[in-house]
Symmetry: C2
Subunit: 453 residues, 2 copies
Amino acid sequence: MRTPLTTTPELRQQVLNRVYALDVAGLRSLLDDQHPADIADLLESLDEQQRVWIFSQLQLPVAAEVLDEARTDTLLDLVEGTPDERIADLLEEMPMDDAAEILSEIKPARADELIALMEPEEAAEVGQLLAYPPESAGRLMNADIVRLQSTWTVAHTLDVLREVDPEIELLAYLYVVDPAGKLEGVVPLRRLITARPERVMSDLTLPSVVTVQTGTDQEEVARVMAQYDFFAVPVTDEAGVLAGIVTHDDVIDVLADEFTEDVQRFGGSAPLENSYLSTPVGKMVRKRVGWLFLLFFTAQLTTTIMQLFADEINQVVALSFFVPLLIGTGGNAGSQMTATMIRAVAVGEVRFSDIWTVLSRELATGLLLGLAMGAAGFVFAQIGGYDPLLAITVALALLVLVVWANLMGVLLPIFADRLNVDPTVISGPVMSTLVDATGLLIYFTLAGIILGL
Amino acid sequence: MRTPLTTTPELRQQVLNRVYALDVAGLRSLLDDQHPADIADLLESLDEQQRVWIFSQLQLPVAAEVLDEARTDTLLDLVEGTPDERIADLLEEMPMDDAAEILSEIKPARADELIALMEPEEAAEVGQLLAYPPESAGRLMNADIVRLQSTWTVAHTLDVLREVDPEIELLAYLYVVDPAGKLEGVVPLRRLITARPERVMSDLTLPSVVTVQTGTDQEEVARVMAQYDFFAVPVTDEAGVLAGIVTHDDVIDVLADEFTEDVQRFGGSAPLENSYLSTPVGKMVRKRVGWLFLLFFTAQLTTTIMQLFADEINQVVALSFFVPLLIGTGGNAGSQMTATMIRAVAVGEVRFSDIWTVLSRELATGLLLGLAMGAAGFVFAQIGGYDPLLAITVALALLVLVVWANLMGVLLPIFADRLNVDPTVISGPVMSTLVDATGLLIYFTLAGIILGL
């Protein structure tokens, strides 16, 4: 028994010692005890040359699993530094859905060369998977599964399973198809092992099965599996023919990627397709510059508004001193609210029909937070020795702004979702920019009234 | 075969029609075809009275699964509106880890009453689970598992499995323990069904097993399962005695909750423990007011800085017009960067040792983005008819601010992680507030030099 994820730092040192000593035998015996996922993590922490050299020392089945587990940047280094023939052998060694995944991450020309080097059968299978649209169930699925016939007896089925390639995973369910390959239902492995040998599959089959189609988006697949607590979901084509299964390990990765994209979008940039370090600077700039420009043009409104109130600022220059504090606090309240609401909408906790409940809740929350901030602002302006009327203006502006920002933070994601726009486009930066412009209008209007400008 | 997640809107109408007609038989036959997870979703979309009434019409096993799948707010309604005896029966019907989960979400006094109504055996088991710390593997695990002995033959093991309570899940692996209950290894179900009847378990056992301990934090459990692509992970106590297993469906929920918390934190508030709608307004305010105050006090610095430069503003009042635009754009650039970096650090793509690589990349990215924003700012100020020197000041300030905000956005999450602080504390609001204060210093200093104030 070993405790996972704790060995890496010491292991890394021991591995490096053997690499520097060119002690191949020592290195191999050290890595033999490691899980391939841990070896992949180890390679991640080393430089390109070290990665490639250690990888070249691994035995084929281990190397295949390591390649399968490696993140994009390590993967690209390993594929780059390893001869084509060996990569082709490694790809043949792994489940074809994982091979397809790897081939889709490397340059298309190189991928074609590698496929040409693979055995015809595997090359055909991987080609088929790559023909499905990116991010679809067809891409994600494992097509190499056991298909049972409803007429088979338990004894015959067990004989078949004994002959099945050990590379093929057997999970909690087996799939029954008709002679045309159409999915008829599932047999729980548990039923199979506890049934008498002469019973036939049709007696053991559960007919009602949730399926996805080859073209179903991977996010939808992940949602289905989370909804029904599935370990695997069968994938069929339009005719109902069983094409493969998607297993939960594929879905965990999809969920993590989608979440990364959501956070990036919420930060105010277009999501990256690859890992941060493997995205070139030029691409990073392109991913970010669009939103920055859009927000910049919106933010120009703030300058126009300030200009409109130039007279007021000229009369009481201290008015301008509070501008960053006010719009900053409003933006923060809006950003808090919108983050909470984006997730509540995404997981379906809040629907459009809840809008009145949510509005009345957030009017209350906004008022309480606004009162707290307004009081703090009043005390701060008084201590700073400003005109009491200016202090009142600041306090009132804070109150109104927080309430207003809070309501925008709740309404915009709900309306975005209603219009079938991903609510994460209402990012923190979008909120702050909107609050900046409207907040200035509120502040200077209040100032005009209270200070009599 | 049915396509999932598409039936809900029409189903909802059909269900409501039967509810209004008090057509119990029709309602039952309609819901009989539905997956309990879908019934839970349906209840979610109805009001409290409807939820409780429909729930009362469900048969015990279905009702138990629906309760298990319901989100917090629906769950609380159902528990509130259902007699104690029936809730106790429902809890006995489900896996004890799920029963413990539900009991931990309702008021402790009511939970104790319900436990007292359960069968002594189940009550004891649920009590044991609740004794583990919240969010630990012990809380999450299913203690009701099949334990094999290494001396058993395949034939005997299959006999035992036939007798096992059908409620107990059998997954891809079975667990072998010594007479003291210590975990010795796992037997893949596949090996068992394909082995000859007279072979003993010790021949089929894989000894090297990754385990977690009962006290392991649930996030760590989720990380282990994602790392090794596990469907289930065994949980042991300090002595190595097998206490239960955590399955991937528990972990998917944990991951989704952690995502939600991360987004809320990144939005600048403390994460909620429950769903949005089931969190009272008072609690929402408490979750948010701390950060708002902290940021408010930091933001006061902006007022002080503006005051410092009161002379300059008095001479060229137009200087103040660009303040929201400048600090807003800087904040947006910083927020983009910090969101990308938080995820890159969280998933281990970027480590502290990558700091120089990352810095040089982000210096380049920041310069390119800064040049673009600076150019846009210059054109905008020129079109607005401002003094060319002021336009140059604005352009230069934008360039320097974007570079500066970008570097802060990359450094702060990396240092937070290095200091073992969750990098999501560097939220969008924290970034904007820091950029606001430092940005004003940069802007007015540049203005002083260029405009000769």
